[in-house]
């Protein structure tokens, strides 16, 4: 599903964020992306999402070359990918329902499709009763559930989560990980950048470890780090 071939990314200010990265992620996988801040995790995600272009190398998504997409094809790529952020990025003046519906509105779905689909997704993430509530009235874990609902509402083939539990306590984090696991078990590929050592070590998923812009370790059923 995702293929990187010798991808490097050098920002205009000279920072070398990715250095000759070659990696493949297959459909249906659950992959943790670990490593210290500044190791290149975000740049890797941004290239998949076509927010940044690689300076060198090729990146493919669903056998399509991301680097060769035309400007108007970028929205179509992004509709196949659900994004979950550490800071949620919900619209504060819209209700939970409207926030999730917004993702469908943006892609031009009909009002009926939105009314049918959104409650389904909200109950899937366990927020059936919170549809009319404003995000500010929700706990962090609940807000992240809204963000997940928004990410899956358009049936994406891939979910990219950038430190989704970074602002949450351990119990809440585990609840969310179960939710991600559930989504993954239905066939959606998940790529998750994280610093949550316990979660990575317990879940026994594929782990890509990055240091200094390179992938330094790639293990099935891996752990957060080999030290200790």
């Amino acid at each position: 599903m995702i293929q990187f071939y010798n991808v490097s990314k050098i920002y205009p200010n000279g920072v070398k964020a990715l250095n000759d990265v070659t990696v493949q992620i297959r459909k249906g996988e659950f992959v943790f992306l670990v490593g210290p801040s500044g190791a290149g995790k975000s740049s890797l995600i941004k290239i998949i999402f076509r927010e940044e272009m690689p300076s060198r190398g090729q990146a493919l998504f669903n056998s399509k070359n991301i680097t060769r997409l035309k400007g108007r094809e970028v929205p179509l790529l992004r509709r196949k990918i659900g994004m979950v952020f550490q800071d949620f990025r919900l619209l504060p003046q819209k209700t939970v329902f409207e926030n999730v519906a917004f993702a469908m509105q943006v892609t031009g779905s009909s009002g009926r499709a939105i009314r049918d689909r959104v409650p389904l997704v909200l109950s899937q993430v366990g927020l059936k009763d919170k549809a009319g509530v404003m995000p500010s009235q929700l706990s962090g874990g609940e807000q992240q559930r809204v963000c997940i609902a928004r990410a899956i509402v358009n049936n994406p083939v891939l979910i990219i989560a950038d430190e989704p539990t970074g602002n949450l306590d351990p119990d809440t984090s585990w609840e969310l990980m179960n939710l991600f696991n559930e989504i993954n078990s239905k066939g959606t590929t998940i790529l998750m950048a994280t610093h949550a050592r316990d979660i990575v070590n317990t879940m026994k998923k594929r782990v890509l470890s990055m240091t200094g812009g390179r992938i330094t370790r790639d293990e099935e059923s891996g752990v957060y780090s080999n030290e200790s």
Partner: protein, 303 residues
Amino acid sequence: MRKAGFTAMNLSTLSYYWREAFSSMFRNAWLSLASVGTVTISLLILGISLLLVMNAQAFTRSLESGVEIRLFLDSGLSRVDVRDMERELKKTPGIATVEFISREEALEEMKKNLGDRQDILEGLEEENPLPDAFRVKAEKADNVPALAAELEEMKGVDQINYGRGMVEKLLAVIKWVRLAGGGLIIVLGVAALLLISTTIRLSLFARRKEIGIMKYLGATNWFVRFPFLLEGMILGFTGAVIASAMIYLGYISLVNRLDEVLPFVTLVTDRDTLLVVIGGLLGLGVVVGILGSAFSIRKFLKV
């Protein structure tokens, strides 16, 4: 089935565009008002100068058909001389019509003009002091001064008479109205454009996070852009409607008042001309609004 879904999609997207445009307009109510006001003032001035120029032009056109040059002839010319002169005048370029007026006819005309007081002229039939004359009409008012100068040199012409000064002044006034109106319109048009683009920029800035999220969710640029273009268009159009209404009502009442006070001054009032002016103003308002917001949007779309 599929078609119904397609229509529904457009409807929901369309209603989304309008809701967004209006809510953002009311969020920056004061700036929206300022934009509308600037558009109104610019278009008001544009409309007024347009009407001024149009009326001035209609006036010159009526003058053009009215301005005539009188050639008073030397006394003692023979009939043959006069006929030769008439033939020569008719060949001169720039002349529309030539008419000979004998001294007898001239006296009759003068009597008619005096009406009740024609007793002043009594006894003049015996010794008519008036000369024979040609009444020449030029094809264009602009040519009258030059033509008059040329004809004055003609053999057999004693004196020449036309609305000297009047024609030149009128032409100069029209030129100035056009220049000043044009300059003002450009300045105010730019001001309106800038204000609308500032209004849109502010609402864009207030919503840049939202725009970022929209782009993350896979919104096309057009989806993001459209509500803002719509907002600019509504602002421009509203200003244009106000300006058009003011100009229309003001002009109609001016025409009516003038009709009472100065019945011999006729203004352009035909429906088609006024419709063209009003339609032009409305169209311009919309264009200014759309351009103004288009300027601002470009850089906010790079996510």
